[in-house]
């Protein structure tokens, strides 16, 4: 199908499946692997677009479900789409809206037609179809849009998983057919199939035939065993075409980003860094710090010494401790740092791949984050072993 992006691989790791790419979207370049922070309601949790640009954020997410409710499809279209609405001139990605229906709404029912749910406002029954999702996403106008998929919990087993996989393929076709702006918006397919390799394989074979501009690995990060998670990811990156970007949905923990990049994933999103900031948690290369804790009351170091974000340049942990979860400025300062941390991590992953030093980067990264080898998560050790990196020689 038509594509409004170009993607070229700039460098490949000679040991793992990691790669650095340059993704060019309608609103500018995106260096991959990339972490995309989540601005659910057309705003990234208290940060201004200017602050995001200064952090060198090239792409962020908006949620279709939320924007569809408020300000609503008609209004966002009238106001010229989401970029203009929030004055964000760089790239946006929107999800299909389906995930929130399932995660937020108790009374969602999935039929062949679409996702049936009760409106949170007046309780009337509403239906989100693939066509409706495309229409909403066309109005919002993001650079990358996602197909409506039949999402089942990653813990579900049995025939429902297979049904959801087949239905996601049928819904992809309906999305392709109803997508009105393929010349400015890139539709990504979402691979389903639960934790079953055969179903994943079948799904990939069918979806690759549709030749969408990129592919997402869906239905993971839902509490499944991490050893199964990475195997599904690695299997998917093996099977998917090498000339298309691969997006692993809902991934955002630092170690997951490093491992999945080694497995060949190019794009990630997660609410974790911004959500945890609002609880007073700051991310660092040695693990998160809960700045609400009184042990930081007299700590006059910055959150991270070598971090060049505004928060670390200007304030001590003691100062942020006074504000964490009390003043909005406390949230803003930690959010700013956490987004900076994520983007800096991705930048160092890219630099390591470009210099073909990714394996030694990974060794250092794990050592710093987990302190000692005893603390390394086994799944990560196993996953990295599959791409020729021995964390525990």
């Amino acid at each position: 199908m038509k594509s409004a992006l170009s993607w070229k691989i700039v460098a490949k790791c000679s040991t793992t499946k990691a790669r650095v790419g340059l993704l060019t979207l309608p609103h500018g370049p995106v260096d991959t692997p990339v972490f995309m922070p989540v601005g659910t309601q057309g705003t990234l949790k208290g940060l201004t677009p200017k602050q995001l640009e200064e952090l060198n954020c090239q792409i962020m997410l908006n949620n279709t479900y939320h924007l569809g409710l408020r300000p609503g499809q008609e209004l966002i279209e009238e106001l010229g789409g989401s970029h203009k609405f929030q004055n964000w001139n760089r790239n946006l990605l929107t999800d299909s809206g389906g995930f929130q229906m399932v995660s937020l709404l108790k009374l969602a029912r999935i039929t062949e037609e679409g996702v049936e749910f009760q409106s949170p406002h007046d309780g009337t029954t509403m239906l989100l179809t693939p066509e409706h999702s495309m229409s909403l996403q066309n109005s919002i106008g993001a650079d990358i849009i996602m197909q409506l998929d039949d999402v089942v919990s990653s813990l579900t087993t049995g025939p429902r998983v297979e049904e959801a996989m087949h239905r996601s393929i049928r819904w992809l076709d309906r999305c392709i057919n109803s997508h009105k702006k393929p010349e400015t918006q890139n539709l990504f397919a979402i691979i389903q199939g639960g934790l079953n390799i055969d179903l994943r394989k079948k799904c990939i074979e069918e979806m690759v035939k549709r030749d969408t501009p990129g592919y997402a690995i869906g239905g993971l990060s839902g509490g499944e065993e991490k050893d199964i998670f990475w195997k599904i990811v690695s299997f998917s990156t093996d099977m998917l075409p090498k000339n298309k970007p691969i997006y692993c949905m809902g991934v955002g923990y630092a170690e997951d980003l490093v491992v999945c990049s080694a497995l060949g994933v190019d794009m990630y999103d997660c609410v974790f860094p911004t959500r945890t900031a609002r609880f007073g948690n700051a991310l660092t290369s040695k693990g998160p710090l809960n700045l609400k804790s009184t042990k930081f009351a007299q700590d006059f170091e910055p959150i991270e010494k070598d971090c060049n974000c505004l928060t670390c340049k200007k304030y001590t942990r003691a100062y942020i401790h006074m504000h964490a979860t009390r003043e909005t400025v406390g949230c803003h300062l930690i959010t700013l740092h956490n987004v900076s941390y994520q983007l800096r991590l991705m930048n160092s992953i890219r630099q390591a791949i470009l210099n073909d030093e990714f394996p030694s980067f990974i060794q250092r990264f794990f050592k710093e984050l987990f302190g000692g080898k005893d603390n390394y998560p086994i799944w990560a050790v196993n996953a990295l072993k599959s791409v020729n990196i021995e964390l525990l020689p």
Partner: protein, 401 residues
């Protein structure tokens, strides 16, 4: 460090144009007066990270409240080696400290001869008069207000008022003899609503070696005029060569009346309060002719669904970050979905606008047009209470998780 106050122009009544010049080390801060000090909560300007504050170029001074961050003993901020300016990242600002929140004084249990009761995050605490000076000597603010025995009773007795004047003077003497060199002290004027006591407090304070005066309009009067009239008995008894800072005067009417009675400095608590209510300032001292005939709004309420599709900036022609980048429709949406960027953008605009309002006041004093402009202002704009009533009906709820 030196602090100089220059009166550049005075006029018929009590109108004054001046500047406060602070010189320390290599740094020179000039605060043109009349002006405002940015109101802070726990040492930050509400909602604004330092880069956003930096985008409001006319902010030169901040006022910091001690009771906001001494709930833990000893206060961690007193252990920080670099002084309070550095701890709060206010190095380039003129830093003023007082013990109680100038915008939101909560009535707490009474004061005694040796201590002041304050309201902290962990409940009511007492601060001894001598430990207050110790804090100041550690914090090294540019100026601090000496301790005051503030009256928060509804109808205080004359005995209580006299006591308050006496204690405040005693604490002032103690502050002046124990403060380290280079830190300046403003004396706080008391006397509540009693004219004789106000005069006594003003005259006695004026005899001391203070660098300026603080007047508190909180708990006094119901209208701008009532508040100013009470403060006037203090103002009339002050020397003209020292700056006067007033609390509790925030509405544009308060400011205009206060300026015409010779108040030089105000705080921006009102801008923070209106921001939290979802309002944006649109008032102006420079009223165009065609607006004369009808009453005008001083603020717009961004909660109003009227703005849902309004693609104008908060105020057409405004040069602030919000107005240069965002629409009323977007800010209405942000309020509606309880997103924190709403108050960031509103505060950016409101503070910017407030500082511009002070600038236009200074220009009009300089040009001799202040009185006529202020008169027009009162004629054209709605009375102040209508807007305050509206405000209490709406308030921002910010969801932190």
């Amino acid at each position: 460090m030196s602090l100089l106050f220059n009166l550049l122009k005075t006029s018929e009544k009590s109108l004054r144009l001046g500047n406060l010049i602070l010189i320390k080390n290599e740094q020179k801060i000039i605060l043109d007066t009349p002006n405002c000090l940015a109101y802070t909560v726990r040492g930050c300007v509400p909602h604004l990270t330092p880069d956003n504050l930096h985008d409001i170029p006319l902010i030169e001074a901040v006022t910091v409240t001690l009771e906001h961050f001494i709930d833990v003993q000893p206060p961690p901020s007193t252990q920080f080696p670099g002084g309070l300016h550095k701890f709060l990242n206010f190095e380039k600002y003129f830093l003023f400290i007082d013990i109680r929140d100038s915008g939101n004084i909560k009535a707490v249990s009474s004061n005694a001869d040796k201590y002041v009761s304050i309201y902290t995050n962990h409940g009511v605490r007492q601060v001894m008069f001598d430990s207050y000076i110790e804090y100041m000597n550690i914090y090294k603010p540019d100026v601090f207000a000496s301790l005051a025995d503030k009256i928060t009773d509804e109808v205080p007795s004359l005995k209580r008022i006299r006591k308050s004047v006496d204690r405040t003077l005693k604490w002032l003497d103690n502050a002046l003899s124990n403060v380290k060199e280079g830190i300046h002290v403003f004396g706080v004027l008391t006397g509540h609503n009693n004219k004789e006591e106000r005069i006594r407090s003003a005259k006695e304070t004026a005899k001391r070696n203070v660098s300026g005066f603080v007047l508190n309009g909180n708990f006094l009067g119901n209208t701008s005029r009532e508040r100013i009239n009470i403060l006037k008995s203090s103002l009339d008894n002050l020397p003209s060569n020292k700056p006067r800072l007033a609390y509790g005067l925030g509405t544009p009417e308060d400011i205009l009346l206060g300026v015409s009675e010779g108040i030089d400095l105000f705080d921006t608590h009102y801008a923070a309060k209106m921001t939290d209510a979802g309002h944006a300032f649109i008032f102006s001292l420079d009223i165009k002719n065609d607006l004369d005939s009808c009453k005008q709004q001083k603020t717009i309420n961004l909660w109003d669904t009227y703005f849902r599709d309004d693609i104008q900036p908060l105020l057409v022609g405004c040069q602030c970050y919000s107005c240069q980048n965002h629409t009323r429709a977007y800010i209405h949406h942000l309020l509606n979905v309880h997103e924190m960027l709403a108050t960031v953008l509103l505060m950016s605009h409101n503070l910017f606008h407030y500082t511009k309002f002070f600038k236009s006041i200074r220009e009009s004093i300089d040009q001799g047009t202040f009185s006529s402009k202020a008169e027009r202002f009162f004629k054209v704009y709605d009375d102040e209470y209508k807007q305050e009533k509206e405000m209490t009906e709406n308030s921002t709820t910010v969801i932190l998780n």
